[in-house]
C-alpha cells in the first residue's frame, strides 16, 4: 500500500495530449483530419492529414480532352465552379489564339462575380454555424437560392454546371437573365445589411474573433496564402488587379485590404468583397453586347506543344492551371495550383497558442474547401 502512495505522480498539466479532429466532424468543412497536440486547452501544434477525398483528378485529366476537363474542374472547388472552368477555357483559347466574342466575356465576368457572391454567402453560413449561430445558416442559404434560381434558368442545374466551354458558352443565356440579375442585386443590397446586424456586430462573435489567429504579411507571402485571407494581412494579391483577365481592367472596383490580419479582419474582407462584386455586376449588366455565344472552334482541340499557365482569382484565392502539352488532344501533364492547399499550410503556424474553440474560428475564416486541397 505504501508503495502505491509513494509513487511519483506526474503533473497532468505538463503532459501533451493528442486529439483527432477526425475526417467526420461538423466543423472541418469536409473530410480533413487534424491531429492536434494540446497542453490543457492550448494548441501546441497541429498536423493536417489530407487525402480523404483525393480522387486523382490531375491524372484522370491526362486521358480526357480539353472540353471534358471542364467537367472535372467543376468538382474540385465546387463553390467557384465557374471560375475554375474559366481558367481552363482561357488557357485553351490563348494557346489556340482564338478570339472569343465580346458578349461571351461580358457574360463570363458577370457569372464569375455571381459565383463569388454565392461562395461568400455559403462561407458566411458555415462561419456562423461553426461559431454556434445557426440562424446564419438559414439566412445565407435562403439568399443563395435566389442565385441558384438564376443559374438554373440559364444553365439547367443548380450546382456544377460546366457552362463554359473553350471558345465560349455552351448555350446562350435565358432572355430573363438580365432582369433577374438586376432584381437579385436590388434584393441582396438590403439583405446584406441584415448580415451585418446579425453577426458582424455581435459582441460574442467579436470577442471570439478579434486578435485571434494573426497572420503577418511576410508569412502570407512566404506560405503562399492568397485570396481574402491574405488581403486581411495587407498583402495585395488580387489576380484581377495585377494580371487582369476578362473585363477586370475595364471595370472599377476596389481591392479590399486589411491591416490586422486576424480572424475578424478576414471575415470583414469577404463581407466587403460581396459588395464590390455587386458593384462590378452593376457596371456590366446593362451593357451586354449582342452577338454569338461562342467562337468557331474545331471539333478536336489540339494544343501546340509547349507549356501554358493561366491564373484566375477564385473566391478562395489564386488558382493556377499549368498545362504541359505535347501536341495531342489530351494534356501531357496538367497541374492545378489550388488556393486552399496553400491556405491550409499556414494553419499550423497561426494556431499555435490558441484554444480549441479559436481553432474552429480560424479554420472557418480561412475558408478552405477540402476537395480543392486534395484534388
Amino acid at each position: 500500500m505504501k508503495e502505491i502512495i509513494n509513487l511519483p505522480v506526474k503533473n497532468v498539466e505538463e503532459e501533451e495530449y493528442h486529439i483527432n479532429m477526425g475526417p467526420q466532424h461538423p466543423s472541418t468543412h469536409g473530410v480533413l483530419r487534424l491531429v492536434v497536440s494540446l497542453q490543457g486547452e492550448i494548441v501546441q501544434n497541429l498536423k493536417p492529414h489530407c487525402g480523404y477525398i483525393h480522387r486523382g483528378i490531375e491524372k484522370m485529366c491526362e486521358k480526357d480532352t480539353y472540353p471534358q476537363i471542364i467537367h472535372l474542374t467543376d468538382r474540385m472547388d465546387y463553390f467557384s465552379a465557374h471560375i475554375n472552368n474559366n481558367a481552363v477555357c482561357m488557357l485553351v483559347e490563348k494557346a489556340l489564339e482564338v478570339d472569343v466574342p465580346e458578349r461571351v466575356t461580358y457574360i463570363r465576368t458577370i457569372i464569375d462575380e455571381l459565383t463569388r457572391i454565392n461562395s461568400h454567402q455559403l462561407w458566411w453560413c458555415s462561419f456562423g454555424m461553426d461559431l454556434g449561430g445557426l440562424t446564419c445558416f438559414f439566412y445565407g442559404l435562403r439568399d443563395r437560392e435566389k442565385i441558384l434560381d438564376i443559374f438554373e434558368e440559364s444553365f439547367g442545374s443548380r450546382l456544377l454546371h460546366s457552362y463554359y466551354t473553350p471558345g465560349g458558352l455552351m448555350m446562350d443565356v435565358h432572355p430573363n437573365f438580365q432582369k433577374n440579375v438586376k432584381a437579385f442585386i436590388k434584393y441582396f443590397r438590403k439583405k446584406i445589411k441584415d448580415y451585418d446586424d446579425i453577426l458582424s456586430g455581435n459582441v460574442i462573435m467579436q470577442e471570439r474573433t478579434k486578435g485571434i489567429g494573426i497572420l503577418t504579411r511576410e508569412d502570407a507571402i512566404s506560405y503562399g496564402v492568397t485570396g481574402p485571407s491574405a488581403r486581411a494581412s495587407g498583402y495585395s494579391c488580387d489576380v484581377r488587379k495585377h494580371h487582369p483577365y476578362g473585363l477586370y481592367d475595364k471595370v472599377e472596383f476596389r481591392e479590399i485590404l486589411g491591416t490586422a490580419g486576424d480572424t475578424f479582419e478576414r471575415y470583414m474582407m469577404r463581407m466587403q468583397e460581396m459588395r464590390e462584386s455587386m458593384n462590378i455586376i452593376e457596371q456590366l449588366i446593362d451593357n451586354i453586347p449582342a452577338g454569338d455565344h461562342t467562337a468557331k472552334m474545331k471539333a478536336v482541340l489540339k494544343l501546340p506543344a509547349g507549356e501554358y499557365y493561366q491564373r484566375v482569382e477564385t473566391a478562395r484565392g489564386e488558382l493556377g492551371v499549368y498545362v504541359v502539352s505535347d501536341g495531342n488532344k489530351t494534356p501531357f501533364r496538367i497541374k492545378f495550383r489550388s488556393p486552399s492547399f496553400s491556405n491550409l499550410s499556414v494553419l499550423d503556424h497561426i494556431t499555435r497558442g490558441c484554444k480549441i474553440a479559436d481553432l474552429v474560428a480560424i479554420g472557418a475564416s480561412m475558408d478552405y474547401v477540402i476537395p480543392d486541397i486534395d484534388r
Binding site: H25, I53, R55, K59, D64, H71, R158
Partner: protein
Amino acid sequence: MGVIKNMKDTDFRDNETLELFKKSGGNILMTTIDAVIDWGRSNSIWPLTFATSCCGIEMMATGAARHDFARFGIEVYRASPRQADVIVVAGTIVNKMAPVLKRLYDQMSDPKYVIAMGACAVSGGPFYYNSYHVVRGVDHVIPVDVYVPGCPPRPEALLYGVMQLQRKIRLESMGQPRQTVELK
C-alpha cells in the same frame, strides 16, 4: 423548373407485402404494434453529419429553408454516430476514407439505414474511369438501402429518396427483425 411527380398518399401506403400480410390474416396485435413502431421510426429519421464533397452542399440546401426536410422528420443532424439513425453518404468515397466510413457505420446503433446520395456514392460517378483512388460505389463498403442518383441530385430527388426510405421502414416487422448483411 423541373417538378418531381408527387407521390399520392394511396401509393405511399400501398405495398404488395402489406397487402399480402393483411390478406393472409396476420396477427392483429403484432400488426398494430408494428404499425405504431414503424410509424414512429419512419417519421423521425435523424442523420449523421457526413458529407465528403459536392453532394453535401445539396444536402445542406435540402435542409435549409426552401426545401426544408424537417417536415419529413429530419429535425436535426447528430454529430455522433451513436445517436444517428441514418447515414446519408453524400460525396465520393475514396480508398483512404473507406475504412473510416465502415467504422462510422459500425458505431451506429441499430436500427440504422444508409442512403447513397449522388452518382459518386452509387457507382463512382464521374470518377469511374481512370481514377486510382476512388471506391466505385459505397455499397462495396456498407449495405445501402436507398440509392439517389444525380450529380448532384436535386433537393427534390433527395426528398423522394427519403420518402422511399420511409416506405421501406414501414414494411418492417418485429417478427422479422432487420437483417444487416455482414460484408467481408
